[in-house]
Amino acid sequence: MTSTATAAEPGVGGTETHAPADFRDVRLLPFHFSGDAKEYFRIWIVNVLLTVVTIGIYSAWAKVRTKRYFHGNTTLDGHAFDYHATGKQILKGRLVVFAIFVVYGLVTNIFPLIAPLFAILFMAFAPWMIRASLRFNARYTSWRNVRLDFTGTTLGAFKAYVLWPLAGSLTLGLLMPHATRAMWRYTVDNHRYGNAPMHLADMPLKPLYKGLLGSGAALVGAAVVAVFIVMALATSNHINTVVGQVVSAVFVIGVFALFLFAVGIYQGIATKTALAHLTFDDRHALGAEFSGVRLSGILATNYALTAVTLGLARPWCAVRVSRYVLGNLVLAAQGDLSEYVDSGAEGRSAVGEEFAAFEGMDFGIA
């Protein structure tokens, strides 16, 4: 059943959804995030410190706790999500990844001319890691006691996550919205809730191009500011005083922050557009009631704040974005949600997922 009706005008502040044309028996089930920044900050700090004190071993359990905190505080229709992976599973994957990284680090530092070869190998491995990561996370996530699943192929991951972004960067960003849509489509279309497939219906590209313009403007602004500051510092006699050093450091951090700011702008618009077109089981649809522009602002300031505080603002930022998006997300559900069952398969290896997280390839909003 193709769905074409919209519940409201798509736009900056309106509800956007692709709810089915037949409105009989449709209930609007709200999402909700009940996490609290102070509470999460305590969990986060204990995670970080225990990780350092155990020289990284606790990081596996820290990750599980973080994911369970965010899943467990996300409710749909009053029922929470859950995350089932154990610290031991994550740790096994991490140890393999750690060994690979040690070899990589030593070899490329002692034989730097081999580094490009490693980069190419990595690019070849990336689709497998992405697919493994998506599958592991899906199979260990559940809502109302039914697990999610992921059925994407490695080839699909290669097309969506390597070829398309490559095209995007080779065209200096002009094809980036296509790449974004390809990535979202690969991710969403291959996810299932139990046996019921999810689908990304006809995601439009115009809002993404607008977001790209905004992003570009911020990048240009950052570049202009950077040039000014570089010129000022280069002609200054005080570069080697303490003040000069502090200013240089602030400047470097500031440029990073501005760059991240620009990225946040694009991500916000893209996320809103994608979520507004997400359906599952051909009859339920997500309604994104939040403003893409506002989400952009939140993401952009989050990134910048995290960079400036060297990471300390992260807990507060994570709670902030989850609360905003989930607080303005609804599921337009048609019919009963109690007849879903697992597709039966348990997740397998955690290695791929750990490689992806280790490299910081987490994507999405929470």
Binding site: H79, G105, S248, R314
Partner: protein, 354 residues
């Protein structure tokens, strides 16, 4: 009923959602546990199965994280989900499984335990980051065989050769310098080969001396011109020999890698792009290690000259000569790989006078 002893024992009750099998069908339910006998059952309004006995010994309970719902599961796929974390904790304690259920939560909950844990861990973390990580990295660097260091040399040498031109010094200069190196190496009791390479650094690295981990020392013609006095040249060579002795090149690389690994693991929670923010501390820390190694090489150079029977004051004098060539750029700072030149002159002057 006249005495408390005759009253029927009241069960511990935990309210939640009951999932009889894997699937999204759920029923409001109450878990009832008789502490005294260990009997448990779940009451629902499921027709035909309103009271189900449960075996608590095969029950798995999820650990507590903040206030998220708790999951009690049984091997047949049945699950009870409840928001009443406190009741579950009480149940776990009476079953004797309280400690494992949520020790992390005990720290995260706040209060004095949280503060105490954070303080203790901060102290431990400081020790590990400032001493443990460099020590471990140094250990790895120390264990690497010489052949690895020499292989690394070949690659680094290629880079040096791109940045410089063949030496324009008169014939025999290289051999004279090699003899000086051998004399100093003997005094330093250095095992392993030390080879001297002379290059022209004009328009590039200028007056400079480099030590590669495998034992190759590179000196530029311009440095030769600056250090006409053989004692000053000896000071420069002694400093570079010290770098090779202490494996500074390899140690710095190993420390950088260890630090990067540590940061990546700890900061992995941050979004991908935020990892860029982690490279700033990494650069600062690497610069700090580098400055530490330069200082070590300076003091070792003084000792080597002394052992070779040469005047150790040649080290501060040679450094002072370098200082004449610098302007503000030699002051040293957070981002610099060398300490300020004046500082180095002062410190080596003190060491040489001892």
């Amino acid at each position: 009923m006249t005495s408390a002893a005759n009253a029927a024992p009241r069960p511990m009750v935990i309210a939640g959602w009951w999932f009889p099998e894997r699937g999204s069908r759920r029923l409001p339910a109450r878990l009832e546990v008789l502490i005294e006998t260990g009997e448990a059952c779940v009451r629902t309004d499921d027709p035909g199965a309103s009271v189900l006995p449960l075996d608590l010994s095969v029950m798995t309970v999820s650990t507590r994280v903040g206030r998220i719902p708790r999951r009690l599961s049984w091997p047949d796929g049945a699950v009870l989900e409840t928001d009443d974390n406190d009741a579950v904790d009480r149940l776990m304690r009476t079953l004797g499984r309280g400690r494992s259920a949520s020790w992390a939560h005990g720290l995260e909950r706040g209060g004095w335990r949280f503060v105490a844990a954070v303080v203790v861990m901060l102290v431990a973390a400081y020790g590990i980051l400032v001493h443990g990580v460099p020590a471990a990295a140094d250990g790895v660097a120390g264990v690497l065989p010489d052949s690895v260091a020499q292989a690394a040399d070949e690659q680094a040498l290629w880079t040096v050769e791109q940045m410089t031109a063949p030496s324009k010094a008169p014939a025999g200069t290289r051999e004279d310098l090699q003899a000086l190196v051998d004399e100093l190496a003997l005094a330093a009791k250095h095992e392993g080969r030390l080879t001297l390479l002379l290059r022209d650094g004009a328009g590039g690295i200028g007056a400079n001396a480099l030590a590669l981990p495998g034992g190759t020392l590179v000196v530029t013609d311009q440095m030769l011109d600056l250090m006409e006095d053989p004692d000053h040249m000896a000071a420069v060579l002694a400093h570079e020999i010290a770098h090779v002795e202490e494996r500074h090149g390899l140690r710095r690389v190993a420390r950088a890698a260890a630090w990067t690994l540590m940061l990546t693991v700890v900061v992995e929670d941050v979004a991908a792009i935020g990892d860029l923010a982690a490279t700033i501390p990494a650069v600062l820390v690497d610069a700090g290690y580098s400055r530490q190694f330069e200082t070590e090489a300076d003091s070792r150079a003084v000792a080597i000259l002394r052992a070779a029977g040469r005047d150790p004051a040649a080290v501060p004098t040679a450094l002072a000569k370098l200082a004449e060539m610098c302007d503000d750029a030699c002051e040293g700072g957070w981002l610099d790989t060398h300490p300020g030149i004046q500082e180095r002159v002062e410190e080596t002057r003190v060491l040489a006078a001892q």
